[in-house]
Structures are given as C-alpha cells and as structure tokens.
Symmetry: C2
C-alpha cells in the first residue's frame, strides 16, 4: 500500500473544506519522516490559490481550465465542490484522472450523486463517497484551518467497486487529519440521517431567525438563541441545493418535528404541568443518552 506522505494530492475547490483538508494534510501527513508528496489545488479564486501557495500549504496552483493538467498527476483527489458541481466536474474530467487514482468527495447529499457517478467515472479510477462532518458558519479558504477536523465524525459510504486497499488508504488519511470516528453506511441511509442532523437543523435555525420581530433581540439573549442560530449564517446557494436534493427525507423529518412541536404547544396551552414535566424529563434523559461531539461540547 502506498504511504500517505508520498502521494500527490489534488484538491478541487479550495474553500473552507478544501483549504482545511490541504492544511491538515500539510500539517499532519507531510510532517511524517520521509514525506515526499505534493499538494496541488484547483480553484476559481486566484487569491485563495495565491495565498495557499505563498503560505506553503499547496505546492502548485491551477485555474479551473487547467484541471486537465493537474489531475493526471494526482494519486488522491478530493473534490470539495457543491453537490451538483461535483458531478459535473467528474463528468467533464472523466478522461483526465490518473489510472488507479482514488477520488473522494465531501458532498452533503449522496443519493443523487450515487445515481450518476458510476457512469461518470472510468473503471480504473476508484471513487469513494465521503462526508466530513465539520462545518460551521464560516466560508472560504481564509477561514480554513488544519485543526478543524479534530474530534469530528467522518461518514464513508463504501461501494462494491471500492478496493479494500483504497478504502484503507482513505481511512488512514481521515484519521491522520484528526477525525475521531469513521461511520460506514450506504448513501440512502446517509441522506436520511443527514436530513435530520444537518438539514433539519438548518431549516429550524432559519425559521427561528425569520420569526424574530427585530434584529436587536439578541440584547435579550443568554446563549440559547445564539446557539440555535449560529448555523443560520447560512450559505444560501449551497443549502438551497442541499435542501432540494434531499427534499423527500427532509420534508419527512420536518413533519416529525412539527408533530413534536404541536405536542408541546398543546401541553402548554392546556396548562398541563404534570404531562409537560414528564415530556421535558424524557427530553433531558434522551439528550443525555445521545453522544456529544468531543470538539465542541467539551
């Protein structure tokens, strides 16, 4: 099996995720003895590329039109684009990947991609579905950092075509970048779970912000509103795409949430203190049982 520190990595899309992956490889993989790999990156933003090259995060920068020059050199490609753009990139550059390359993505929805990716790729390229569960309110290369993956979850969706060796390599890289847990599932389950943990939460945060009477309400804030709406500093084009690409799952979860909200509303309207207290006791017990992220809750 190849050594992680001897590979040439290609980062497609040097935003907050691509940038953090590049920085993390630089800090955590290329600090190993004998490292002789390289990091190449491709982005529309020349400033991001220039900064990353200047800072020694990447070894070489490519404009999008030059991706065809970058890809044939890359043993490991991370496509860090929006979901639809990820598929378009794979289709457009079908001919340009190196034979034997491992290609992975970071897309927040997978089922749509799964339907098309097999036809988009050559048989001598191994595509591994991945979803690093690290994000936040910030965007762009300028906000990327090497340590943002520490303690985080990474979801992998192995496919019949993936070789054991390639999956192992991907997992080694994920661990080296600092993720503390790798969860394996299939694309459909991923989309079902993520519609709850991620997309529903963004819908709720957005609705909460819009239901505020005015923008000075945080003068009366004690942390709850701030916690619930941190993710409402939302990237509108990306989340529009994510919500719509996973709409069936998301609508079902919104429905379940509305039913619970309605239950609480009824208990409050009825002034039913004993039942309300029982309900809240169950909430507390369930939440206590649920795991927490090491990095944010500690």
């Amino acid at each position: 099996m190849p050594e992680l520190n001897q590979l040439t990595y290609g980062i497609v899309g040097l935003g907050i995720m691509g940038g953090s992956i590049a920085k993390s490889i630089r800090a955590n993989v290329f600090d190993m003895p004998g490292a002789c790999g390289e990091i190449l990156a491709c982005d529309v933003n020349a400033l991001s590329l220039g900064t990353a090259a200047h800072d020694g995060v990447i070894d070489e920068a490519f404009a999008p039109d030059d991706a065809a020059l970058m890809l044939p050199r890359c043993d490991f490609v991370c496509v860090c684009l929006y979901p639809h753009a990820t598929l378009r990139f794979l289709q457009e550059h079908r001919a340009h990947f190196k034979t034997g390359a491992v290609v992975t993505d970071i897309s927040g929805v997978k089922t749509e991609l799964e339907e098309h990716v097999r036809g988009a790729l050559r048989d001598d390229v191994d595509f591994v579905f991945g979803h690093p569960m690290a994000g936040g309110a910030k965007e762009g290369y300028v906000n990327s950092n090497a340590s943002c993956f520490e303690g985080r979850n990474y979801i992998l969706m192995p496919q019949p075509w993936n070789t054991a060796e390639d999956l192992s390599l991907v997992k080694q890289l994920i661990s080296a970048m600092g993720f503390s847990r790798i969860v394996e599932t299939d694309c459909r389950s991923h989309d079902h779970k993520i519609a709850f943990t991620s997309q529903l939460c963004h819908v709720i945060a957005s609705a909460l912000v819009e239901s505020a009477e005015d923008e000075h309400i945080t003068e009366f804030g004690g942390g709850s509103f701030e916690d619930l709406t941190r993710i409402a500093m939302i990237n509108a084009p990306l989340w529009t795409e994510l919500f719509l690409a996973n709409r069936t799952e998301l609508l079902a979860h919104i429905g379940s949430f509305e039913a619970q909200l309605d239950r609480i509303k009824t208990l409050i309207a009825d002034g039913d203190a004993p039942e309300l207290e029982l309900y809240l006791s169950d909430v507390r017990k369930r939440r206590m049982t649920m795991g927490t992220l090491v990095s944010r809750d500690s």
Copy 2:
C-alpha cells in the same frame, strides 16, 4: 452610597446561579482593597453549603428554616430560586428583611411576580427585578463558577419604587460580576422578549430531541444538532414552570415560528430554488446583523 465590598450579601438558593453569584462576588468584589463585607447563604442542600463554606466562598451557611436569622443581617439579598418559590420566599420572610435592604431576583418570568411582589414586601425594602442572562445545561452549586457571567447580558426592570441609589448599586454589582451589557425594560416586555430568545428556543430544542428516531443519531452529527440541543439537557420542573407562567407570550412566538417553518416547507416541497435561495439569503443577512454574545461566539 455604600461600597460594594463592605456589604453583607445574602444568597437565597445556592445552585448554579446563586453559587456563581457568590463566587463572583468573592472573586471580583471582595478582592478590592478594604473589603470587609460578608457572604451569607441559605439552601436546602447541606452539601452545597458545606462545600461553599469550606472553600471560603461563603462566610456563613443557613438552613432554610434559619433564613429568618440570616436576612436581618443582609444589606443585599439575591433570591436565586424558581419563580414561584421566589414569591413564596418573599411572602414568608416579609418580616425578616433588614430595613433598607436591596433585594433582587433572577427569575426567568416577571409579569406574574410583578403582580404580587409589591404586596409581599415592606416599604422599607427595595426590590429590584433582575434577570442575569447566563445559564446552560448544567445545574447545581457544583457547576457554579465565578466567571460564567463574563460578556453576558443582564436585564433590569426598574420600578417606580426603586431608588436611584439602589439601582446604581445593583448596576455596579452587575458590572463587577463581569456582565457586559445591562438592558433596562419593563416586566411585560421582558417576558415577551424572553419568551422568544429563551423559552421558544428550549421548546424547539426539546421537540428536536423528541423527533430523533434513535439516540445514536449523533454518530451522524457535525455540530448542528449538538448546537441546537445543548439546552435540551433541560431542568424539567423549572422549565415547566417557566413555560406555563409565560404561556400566552410563548404560544404566540411558537405560532410565528411555525408560520416560518411552514413557509420553508412549502418552498422545499415546491422545489422553488430561486425563492428558497432568496429566503435563505435574508436569513443570513438578518443573522449577521443580529448581535452575538461575546463570550460564546468569539
């Protein structure tokens, strides 16, 4: 005006809030030169009292039955009990407060209290409605700490009977404890605003926890669900009381939130990408405009 560091403070209820207030006074007020004040505390929990006395946080401990011995000595009393218990305490101990004492509370709902407090107190005691906007998932004296107020908001609801001198004293203490912003309003506005920033958020977090299919869902978490449900480790008796005491305001806010949720749901169901993106762009813009808490978001 009396000096903060020469007063005798009485803390009624040495839980996470009363404990943090005691520790903060000890650390931030009694470290001033010439300090000769005292901190007395009263609680049902003998272990909390013993620990606080042993650690030098309080000077003297009183069981609830001995509150009548403590109160006549206190220049400044912080009643750190649940809302209904606060009123009961004031009524029961009407005769025991020191002449000229400043008494304040931390209750999360005020209108109910406002209706009854005037009749409950003697004219020679100045009651100041206060609400320190600091809380969280944790409870009990064991989780109290001197620095949890830093960067937080404090809401004051001055009343016609409050003297300028007493209000000034309260504000000095609030600032000394580390709060960064004092917001003044009336009890009705307080309850209206807090129903949104605090109670609605707890309702949403609770409904979200209960709508989870299972308790292993956090394996698929990236921080959003964790952020939105941190406050769901809820103190059920306290929040039952808060929700019901403020039910009219809370139900109105739940209604507004549901209307926004319904709007998003419709946009998703219709696959209306342009309108959904516009909606989310507005969410982002509004959230960016809203202030953030210094201590948690920085």
